[in-house]
């Protein structure tokens, strides 16, 4: 689509260079650890070496004897204010600091407050905690056995470790289709616990002013407004009132879902500041971040797919055990404890499906948050894309052919899925065909056959995913009752310059540029004259924040609607200035003119000035608008990825030779930024596919607690991503846009696994759980009698 505006205006479709870059390039970003206040104290946290243990005693005397250590805060201190427990976003409960027992390794046990971060660390070393270890449960399947120790002894009447059962779909119709099926495939799939590992860890600076009663907190949060409300609800009884709470989310060094939850450290820092009246800084280190922050995934899935011998798929049946650690602290919309996992019929036109999920407690950190994805959509896509591939191999059918045969057709949109979602738009076959053309699919299959004949291992994997983003319509989507709208407030100044504020919060996505481009598109102001601000709850309108690829679908829509309100008023002002009827005016980017008389025109800048100096009698002065956008539906971005791998027979190493990604996120605001999001998303798909996993031994020790063994892809492992796109606008979004930040992370892992299994199928390999490490492949090769 050719841009409607000039490059100088910089509306939609222009690869405008980012407005946020100049400060970052000069080292002038303002991240939370850069915030320094006079008299600021430092908080550091004592953490449990045990995964499950009773706390017999905490001796703080040696720590308190260290010059500069001001206090050691324990659960018993917080209990006096009833702040030792807090609610999670899923209406479960989570300890801020424990009074009786710890539930996972690295859990917060006590906090040391000191004048300096080194002294605080000395204090942490000097706190002596006496523990009495308890039996540890790390396997969620064992946690469900009748003789398993009950972990949540804080919950009266809790007799087991089962949190909730959730199911969706038509069980009877699904079972009948399975009985009638000519062919079925069944597979256990484990999607392991992983960690977002944004390069900036989490932290905050809390400053309670005892004179004004105002609490100001700079914190690494993707959802500052919701956090403000949570703080008011949790600490209202100790006098924190929402109008006196200001949350500032400064520059954020990556979020990916890990900066949505409220972590105990934040709450302890706030409590410490309220108690002392001094600013308190808490910044976690990487080991704390990896060992104690909320995790993602951890789904033990059993999936079955039914179909006919001709490759036509009919039904999907899934049972899943969801390991939530010791509390359900996921960040899902409240009506959906398994998130949007029931988008698991994917891109295929199935007759029926049924999905069941059971949440389970174990002695692990809390979680079930996202890892750059919209509420479990990665788990859904991984499952259906693996199953579709299994079926293709089972039928000895080409994986692309099976997909083409089963795609929801373009003319079927809007499409009601077997699990009740209404997909807004799609053209799946076009995306897959483009990917196949770009990668040279037929030639690659030929090459593969030749190599296989020579004993070389090469695989080609496809993933044709459908995402579900932009939560969400208020009828179904809320977090703690807060409806999942988002907002934009736009003010046009007399000199034709604009400030715009949003309820979202960029963590690298480039909102300062893309929102400005939406305003430029709608109103014709140059991007250079538009200032975008987010993240300060005292100034920005209320919104639910940035995660689950919702900024463009929801706040971007709010931005467009607010612009259109401003344009309506600008039209009235132009009509007054031009002495014409409103209906006789026409708009082109940046000005209104009288139909048939293009020289009788008023620019948006002239109109801006008139709004404050010469506004029409009987109307309000000013040129501002606010919109709270409640989306009528979610948006459904999609794409087709093709991965080519070579496998070293000697070492089992998987080398991603090529990876072609065709994405369709509807209309594009900034092609440069969209491509950058896809590059990053693909790399966060590569990591979990081949390297990343958080594991625990039987005692609950975290085995990947630092970057030494939690392997984030470097530039060496990462291939040179090849990208492309199709454009299928969303019919219900004001800009036809859909959201793109997470598509690649959602779609990529299945393509990689499918490629590896494709390379090894002839050796009897049917499935490999991610991450596909060299060790796993090496073992499979040796078992198959392959020599290096």
């Amino acid at each position: 689509m050719a841009p409607k505006t000039s490059p100088e205006i910089g509306g939609m479709g222009h690869s405008v260079k980012r407005k946020e870059d100049p400060r970052f390039l000069r080292g002038q970003g303002n991240y939370v650890d850069d915030v320094v206040l006079p008299g600021m104290l430092y908080l550091d946290i004592v953490r449990s070496p045990y995964a499950h243990a009773t706390i017999k005693s905490i001796d703080t005397s040696k720590a308190l004897a260290i010059p500069g250590v001001l206090a050691v805060i324990t659960g018993k201190d917080l209990e006096k204010y009833n702040l030792h427990w807090m609610p999670t976003l899923m209406s479960d409960t989570q300890m801020v600091l424990p009074v009786e027992k710890v539930m996972y390794q690295a859990q917060e046990v006590a906090a040391v407050l000191a004048t300096d971060r080194y002294i605080a660390a000395d204090g942490v070393e000097a706190v002596e905690v006496d523990y009495d270890p308890l039996p540890v449960v790390v396997d969620p399947k064992k946690a469900l056995l009748p003789d398993a120790p009950v972990l949540r002894t804080d919950k009266k009447d809790k007799k087991d470790n089962h949190i909730w059962h959730w199911e969706w779909g038509n069980r009877e119709a699904t079972d009948q289709l399975f009985r009638d099926a000519e062919v079925t495939v069944k597979q256990d799939i484990y999607i392991p616990r992983i960690h977002v590992s944004s390069i900036e860890t989490c932290g905050c600076v809390a400053h309670f002013d005892k004179v004004t009663g105002k609490l100001k907190v700079w914190m690494t949060t993707q959802a500052p407004h919701a956090i403000r409300t949570v703080f008011a609800l949790v600490a209202g009884h100790v006098g924190l009132s929402e109008e006196k709470i200001q949350i500032i989310s400064p520059d954020i060094g990556g979020g990916f879902g890990g900066k949505v939850p409220v972590y105990p450290g934040y709450v302890i820092a706030v409590a410490a500041s309220v108690l002392t009246g001094k600013p308190v800084k808490w910044i976690e280190d990487r080991m704390e971040n990896l060992q104690a922050d909320s995790f993602a995934r951890d789904y033990h899935i059993t999936a079955e797919l039914a179909g006919n011998k001709d490759g036509k798929l009919t039904a999907l049946r899934i049972k899943t055990i969801a390991d939530h650690g010791y509390t359900d602290a996921a960040a899902n919309p409240s009506k959906f404890p398994a998130g949007l996992f029931h988008v698991c019929t994917g891109s295929y036109d199935l007759k029926a499906a049924h999905v069941e999920v059971d949440g389970v407690y174990t002695n692990k950190p809390p979680g079930g948050i996202a890892y750059r994805c919209s509420f479990r959509v990665t788990e859904a896509v991984h499952t259906i894309e693996r199953m579709a591939d299994l079926m293709a191999h089972e039928l000895n059918m080409d994986a692309a052919e099976l997909r083409m045969k089963n795609f929801i057709k373009p003319e079927q949109f809007p499409y009601k899925s077997a699990l009740d979602w209404e997909y807004d738009s799609g053209n799946y076959g076009a995306a897959l065909q483009l990917a196949m053309d770009k990668v040279g699919y037929a030639e690659l299959r030929k090459e593969q056959a030749e190599k296989r004949a020579r004993g070389e291992l090469m695989g080609i994997g496809i993933s044709s995913f459908t995402e579900i983003v932009g939560a969400g319509p208020s009828k179904h989507f809320d977090i703690l009752g807060l409806k999942m709208f988002d907002s934009a407030e736009i003010r046009v100044h007399p000199t034709g310059k604009v400030i715009a504020r949003f309820g979202t919060k960029s963590q690298g996505q480039g909102h300062e540029t893309t929102y400005a481009q939406i305003i430029a598109e709608e109103l014709g102001f140059p991007v250079a004259n538009i200032l975008v601000e987010e993240g300060d709850t005292d100034t920005a309108p209320y919104g639910l924040g940035t995660y689950a690829s919702r900024s463009t679908p929801v706040a971007g829509a709010a931005c467009a609607i607010a612009c259109r309100k401003i344009k309506d008023k600008a039209r009235k002002i132009a009509a007054y200035l031009l002495e014409a009827h409103e209906e006789d005016l026409e708009w082109e980017p940046g000005k209104f003119f009288v139909k048939g008389s293009p020289d009788r025109a008023k620019t948006i800048q002239e109109i801006s000035l008139a709004a404050y100096t010469n506004h029409p009698p009987g109307t309000e002065a000013g040129l501002e608008a606010v919109n709270y956008y409640d989306p009528p539906n979610l948006t459904y971005p999609f794409g087709s990825y093709i991965c080519v791998v070579d496998i070293d027979k000697g070492t089992g190493e998987v080398k991603v030779r090529r990876f072609v990604a065709i994405d369709d996120c509807g209309n594009i605001i900034n092609p440069m930024i969209v491509e950058g999001q896809i590059h990053g998303g693909l790399t966060m798909g590569l990591g979990p596919a081949l390297y990343e996993e958080i594991q625990y031994d039987e005692s609950g020790n975290c085995l990947q607690g630092s970057f030494m063994n939690y392997l984030v892809p470097t530039a060496v492992e990462t291939p040179n991503w090849e990208t492309g796109n199709t454009v299928t606008p969303s019919p219900h979004h004001p800009l036809g846009a859909k959201g793109v930040g997470e598509s690649a992370t959602v779609g990529a892992p299945a393509a990689i696994v499918n490629a590896v299994v494709d390379a090894l199928w002839h050796l009897g390999v049917r499935h490999i759980d991610i991450p596909i490490t060299s060790a796993k492949v090496w073992k499979l090769l040796r078992e198959a009698g392959v020599r290096g």
Binding site: R18, V196, I199, G253, M287, H679, G680, A715
Partner: protein, 160 residues
């Protein structure tokens, strides 16, 4: 803890300080000198967000003591821009969309500063190995490689 005196040059400015021997160089730069462009991402030398250039070599300042920098000359991200003109690397990152959240960017720039001095016509593969000690979660590295190439070209054209 007894303090020890150090003298060092940071971005061409001479500094003297009395510091604890255990003070990490990254904390000295960020907290004693207020140069917060150098970031901390992992504490174990893996992520490279804290990379600075010491006497021409890129090092990870989260695993160096400030006292080890005594008598040395350090360049941080704040020292890249000269006379209001962005360094070719900074320009390259801007032009090629080599950054998103910006948190790893200073380390990526400083690794590049030392690397391009040793190799001003690198292959993409050489660049990828050069930045393998700098983690980025946002960009997928492709545009960082392009940014390095942009800078290398500009530096060659400028006779550097």
């Amino acid at each position: 803890m007894d303090k020890v005196p150090i003298k060092l040059s940071v971005n061409g400015v001479e500094h003297s300080a009395e510091i604890e021997p255990r003070l990490l160089l990254v904390h000295f730069l960020r907290e004693n000198l207020g140069l917060t462009g150098t970031h901390i991402g992992c504490d174990t030398s893996h992520c490279g967000a804290c990379t600075v250039v010491v006497d021409g070599r890129a090092i990870k300042s989260c695993t160096a003591f400030a006292v080890q920098a005594d008598g040395r000359s350090i360049t941080t991200v704040e020292g890249l821009e000269q006379d209001g003109k962005l360094h070719p690397l900074q320009d390259g990152f801007f032009q090629e969309h080599g950054l998103q959240c910006g948190y790893c960017t200073p380390g990526m720039l400083m690794t590049g500063l030392a690397f391009l001095k040793t190799n001003n016509s690198p292959t993409d593969d050489e660049i990828r190995h050069a930045i393998s000690g700098n983690l980025c979660r946002c960009t997928g590295y492709v545009n960082i490689v392009k940014a390095y190439q942009y800078a290398a070209q500009k530096m060659r054209d400028g006779g550097e």
